[in-house]
């Protein structure tokens, strides 16, 4: 570069080039690394630990140079770390809210002192995170830490929480989980990805300086996801949450099935629609899409949808604005091959390219490229290559834009551009994504919840909604899943036992057991197979009744009916939903005697007790009716000027595998939560005690709920669990059943991801359904919604 430094003023005067970018210094971060001899240990119990003879993993910067090496934790380290985390939890959760908040705030001032070191280290490791965003994150959650006991009453921390990141996850996404977990009083074990390991270790060190008790934050580094699985196997872990790419997430989900801890996933790498309506500020929208799509380290793939009427205005502007943009660095040479292949394939299919410059013959960089003339079926749209490629498509009408935007397995975010307020809000409501940015894109703030809809995740991060994954309502005394080691099971054989045969016998007509019907698409009917299963009387022995032996086809029919009416039900006003629920409660009271009889015969309770249960159930339904217009979103305070909305939305179709205990009361509690928030349900009554739920069908029949909103399919639990697990429309499953069933669901419900609430039933104990604790209902409805945030920049 000798030539460029002595360039004459006159030459520059003519060419008006900007000159070399000042090389960003990384001296401070380097000094910190060298202080650790460029080999970072594990962070356990408040200090760096470098156990002897462990494998190491070297971390490279963008140019392939070695930054440092990290230790790959072994089994001993994991158990040492876990016991440190347990004592860390005792110390940390024992502190007052004020004391915890103070630690987070002290870290803010430490970050201020060492912001240079943090930002340089993030740059070196390409973990993309600015100290300013960390400061905001800490400040936001320190206030929640301070107010936990005043504003989130009846919820307690979980214990030891594991936060896992894949190699390509940003440091901010990782901290967006770790900080709220700490703020709520949990102790946290971070299992970072390759790029996030050094900054996580640095932050852990700073946390100790801020007064975090030793063990409240431990960092275990490794070489791949297998470490996270090892950590999950430790019996002191209560919850694991993951942020990163889909493949690693699925692998983690499957590998931890049956261990007995809930695992939630936030996916990056989604395909997101960028929609330009004809009423948009076209120039700003074009600038926006170029900025979003051609970022160096982007976590989403954008697809541009342009209204046909302004397509001819957008394309020349894209062409003009893209000119002169520099090549974007790719992660590796392999990525370059993928990008080249994708572009060639696109061209063969007639796509037209708009490129800022010709692609360099080789190397891990590629010019920003717009691909015109694609269709939703084009390979470069379906499975986008990891590079600066932006497919463009057209749409005719506003509704078509929403249809195109929603027609994707992903549901992370969308950017919509229009100056028409009505259109903006209607579109924001109709898109099934977690974040909608109006006339803007990629706006993140810890106050604005990020939630992956559809296949993009199973939890909400950020905001108040993001706190509940790290809390347990105080009405659930014990963790829902017992810790165990996964049983070795053949997942393909689960729930496929043949239907039990029924043969005619000599019972006379008078004492013949009653035959019940199930309820699919608003009709009481037999199962598709025509078979029935026997229901045993309490204490076993005699056959009490027969109920339909439902299967895959019954579930399919039920889901089809449910998905038809669910969107309409969700759009109904909360008051209208409340009226329907009140009416359902009234219907239950009207059939009080019938239903009580079914409880008596099923459970052997006295008529008095049974009637009490019916009354409680009617009261519970009325509770839910009253809740309908109380479950609401809010406008969020944000540091930037604008309007931020956080809206709870229904999940869609929820599968319920109901508990044996309090069969009627537990059913109306769960059913009420699901439909009060706008979901449709497919319910599987307890295999042991199905009669009260089957008797409830007559109440459903006389209700004014939309036909198909609530379906009841009876039969063998395992078989129906398999059917629910293998239907992609079902977004969530709430399951009370066997340990194997829980393991099966965790292993199976990964593609697409389903939100699972699993409870392993025990003979005695478990949830107390008769209590009317406020946090019981709160927990239920929070499980029944997914959050959407909408951001509208305004003055």
């Amino acid at each position: 570069m000798a030539g460029s430094t002595d360039k004459a003023v006159f030459d520059i005067f003519l060419s008006m080039e900007s000159g070399p970018a000042a090389a960003s210094s990384t001296a401070t971060a380097q000094a910190w690394l060298e202080h650790h001899s460029c080999s970072l240990g594990l962070f356990i119990d408040g200090k760096f630990v470098c156990p002897a003879d462990r494998q190491t993993c070297s971390i490279a910067d963008s140019k392939g140079g070695n930054v440092c090496s990290t230790v790959c934790a072994a089994d001993d380290d994991v158990s040492q770390c876990a016991s440190s985390a347990v004592s860390g939890y005792k110390a940390w959760s024992g502190m007052s809210c004020y004391a915890r908040a103070k630690v987070l705030l002290r870290l803010v001032s430490l970050l201020g002192q060492h912001s240079k070191c943090v930002s340089e280290l993030c740059d070196l490791c390409e973990a993309s995170c600015s100290p300013a965003s960390l400061v905001r994150l800490l400040q936001y959650y320190s206030s929640w830490a301070q107010l936990r006991d005043s504003l989130i009453t009846n919820w307690t921390p979980l214990g030891v929480v594991v936060v896992v990141a894949s190699d390509d996850c940003s440091f901010y996404s990782l901290m967006l989980k770790a900080v709220p977990a700490l703020a709520m009083g949990n102790s946290v074990i971070i299992v970072p990805g390759r790029s996030t390991a050094p900054p996580a270790l640095l932050l852990a060190q700073l946390f100790m300086g801020a007064g975090l008790p030793a063990g409240a934050l431990n960092i275990l580094t490794g070489s791949d996801m297998s470490l996270a699985v090892k950590v999950a196997q430790n019996s002191s872990i209560s919850y694991m949450t993951y942020s990163g790419n889909k493949q690693d997430g699925i692998m983690l989900h499957k590998a931890t099935a049956g261990i007995g801890i809930p695992v939630s996933i936030s996916c990056i790498g989604a395909t997101c629609p960028f929609i330009i309506f004809e009423s948009a500020d076209i120039d700003s929208a074009v600038d926006g899409v170029l900025e979003a799509a051609f970022k160096k380290k982007k976590e989403v793939h954008w697809v541009l949808y342009v209204q046909e009427s302004v397509f001819k205005l957008v394309i020349p502007r894209l062409k003009q604005r893209i000119a002169g943009k520099k090549c974007v660095n790719l992660a590796s040479d392999e990525d370059r091959i993928l990008v080249d292949t994708a572009v060639q394939e696109a061209q063969q299919q007639g796509a037209e390219l708009l490129q800022s410059c010709a692609a360099p013959p080789s190397g891990a960089s590629y010019p920003p490229t717009v691909l015109c003339g694609g269709a939703p079926s084009s390979p470069f749209v379906v499975s986008p290559a990891p590079g600066p490629l932006l497919p463009v498509m057209t749409f005719r009408s506003n509704t078509e834009a929403v249809t195109l935007g929603n027609h994707s397995p992903h549901g992370l975010a969308a950017s919509i551009w229009t100056e028409d307020l009505t259109l903006a809000l209607e579109t924001a409501k109709s898109l099934s994504v977690g974040s909608v940015w109006v006339n803007s894109h990629s706006v993140t703030d810890p106050g604005l919840p990020i939630s992956g809809h559809k296949d993009s995740g199973t939890c909400t991060d950020g905001g108040q909604a993001g706190l509940y994954q790290f809390l347990r309502s105080s009405c659930t005394s014990s963790p829902p899943l017992p810790r165990s080691s996964p049983v070795s099971m053949d997942y393909t054989k689960f729930g496929i036992a043949a239907s039990p045969v029924l043969i005619p016998d000599n019972t006379d007509a008078a004492s013949a057991p009653k035959t019940y019907l199930q309820f699919v698409g608003g009709k009481a009917c037999k199962s598709d197979s025509g078979c029935s299963v026997a229901v045993q009387a309490p204490g076993g022995g005699s056959v009490l009744a027969y109920c339909p032996d439902g299967g895959r086809k019954d579930v399919r029919n039920a889901v089809e009916a449910a998905i038809k009416v669910q969107p309409g039900w969700m759009k109904k006003s909360p008051t209208a939903r409340a009226q329907s629920l009140y009416f359902l409660a009234k219907g239950l009271e009207a059939k009080r005697r019938d239903i009580a009889m079914s409880i008596t015969s099923q459970l052997g309770l006295s008529m008095d007790d049974a009637e009490k249960e019916v009354d409680l159930s009617a009261a519970r339904l009325s509770d839910w009716a009253a809740y309908c217009d109380k479950i609401q979103g809010e406008t969020l305070p944000m540091p930037q000027s604008g309007t931020a909305l956080s809206i709870p939305e229904a999940l869609g179709v929820v599968g319920l595998v109901l508990p044996d205990k309090n069969p009627l009361l537990s059913m109306v509690t769960l059913l009420g939560a699901a439909i009060a928030t706008g979901n449709a349900v497919v319910m599987v009554p307890s295999q042991k005690n199905p009669l009260p739920v089957l008797a409830f069908i007559q109440v459903l029949q006389s209700s004014d709920l939309p036909v198909g909103l609530v379906n009841v399919i009876s039969g063998r639990r395992d078989q129906l669990t398999v059917a629910l697990a293998n239907h992609s429309v079902i977004k969530a499953i709430w399951y009370w059943g066997s340990a194997e069933g829980c393991q099966y669901l965790q292993h199976t419900c990964t593609s697409p991801l389903k939100t699972l609430r699993l409870f392993c039933q025990k003979e005695n104990g478990g949830m107390n359904w008769t209590q009317s604790h406020p946090s019981l209902l709160e927990e239920m409805w929070r499980n029944a919604v997914q959050w959407k945030s909408v951001w509208i920049p305004t003055a």
């Binding site: 006159f10 008006m16 006339n439």
Partner: protein, 318 residues
């Protein structure tokens, strides 16, 4: 000099559907302000470029032949000769782009410049500057007289009443007449953006001014409360870009009012480079309307050459 913008037929369709999102523009402006500005000799070269784009201006009630004379001489030798020599720029004809004065002072300026054998153009504001609230006939006459006195460039102000009430075609017709009155003199149209209310109006006024044949569009008179801001500039240069896309004619841009520091001038150059490209980085398509800016640029150049910060009295005044 390259071809002038001849203007086009008025077409309401070009502006009727335009929407400008204020917040998106503000964000873009922030991004541009956040761009790195050049350092070392790149900075020196850019600052010299800025000097060559300055319309060195005096528009005050107490202007007399003597201060106009000083201004003209400073315009022809804007940077101390020894400083230029150190940068090997002394023989590259560094002058400001023009001097800009009130119509009554045009003759004085022309005389001074002729006396020193300078071909530096004299620009004159006209058409009832700054408010534009005089009868059309007197405004036209003002243009004709300034041209007759030797002004090579005329900075006209638009009739804000027509813009604010949406009489775009009437505004087009007025500007068209000014253009005719200018003859060979280049016409810069001042939009007085501080008084147009919305960015959408700024965009529409820019487009109408260009359709009517403006050679430059200029942000403000320097007499309104809000002067040249980066967001408003983004809206105007986008209009310039659109006009170029539609017609193939390049129209120049002149921010004026409130530009005082060398750093600001670098941001302005960055903005133009980012939004319009290097083609626009020349006095033919970019001007900075300023009076005190030059002193600060000269101080920065002094620092670049000597490594010292100059006292104001070390550099010749305008």
């Amino acid at each position: 000099m390259a071809a002038r913008n001849p203007g086009v037929q008025f077409d309401l369709e070009w502006i009727s559907r335009v929407r400008v999102n204020t917040q998106a523009v503000l964000k873009r402006a922030q991004q541009i302000q956040g761009l790195k500005t050049p350092k070392k000799q790149w900075q020196a070269a850019w600052l010299l470029k800025a000097v060559t784009c300055i319309d060195l201006t005096t528009l005050a009630g107490d202007d007399t032949p003597s201060n106009v004379h000083r201004l003209c001489l400073k315009a022809t030798q804007p940077v101390r000769q020894d400083l230029l020599k150190k940068m090997d720029m002394h023989d590259k004809g560094i002058t400001t782009a023009a001097v800009c004065v009130y119509p009554s002072r045009v003759a004085d300026a022309v005389m001074t410049l002729k006396a020193v054998n300078s071909s530096l153009p004299v620009a004159s504001v006209a058409t009832g500057f700054p408010a534009g609230q005089t009868p059309l006939e007197t405004r036209l006459q003002e243009v004709r007289m300034a041209v007759a006195d030797g002004a090579m460039e005329i900075d006209i102000v638009i009739n804000r009443k027509l813009a604010l009430t949406g009489y775009w075609e009437a505004m087009y017709d007025e500007i068209r007449q000014f253009r005719k009155a200018c003859g060979d003199a280049h016409m810069k149209t001042i939009l007085a953006v501080g008084e147009l209310g919305t960015f959408t109006n700024v965009y529409k006024a820019s487009m109408v001014a260009m359709m009517a044949g403006s050679d430059f569009i200029k942000t403000s008179t320097g007499k309104e409360a809000v002067n040249a801001t980066y967001p408003v500039a983004i809206v105007m240069v986008r209009a310039i870009r659109d006009y170029y896309l539609r017609t193939g004619h390049k129209v120049g841009f002149k921010p004026a009012g409130g530009i005082r520091t060398a750093q600001e001038s670098l941001v302005w150059l960055n903005l133009i480079k980012e939004e319009l490209g290097n083609d626009w980085l020349c006095p033919h398509l970019f001007r900075l309307g300023a009076s005190s800016l030059l002193a600060d640029i000269e101080r920065q150049l002094y620092h670049h050459v000597t490594g010292q910060y100059a006292a104001y009295h070390e550099l010749p005044m305008a």
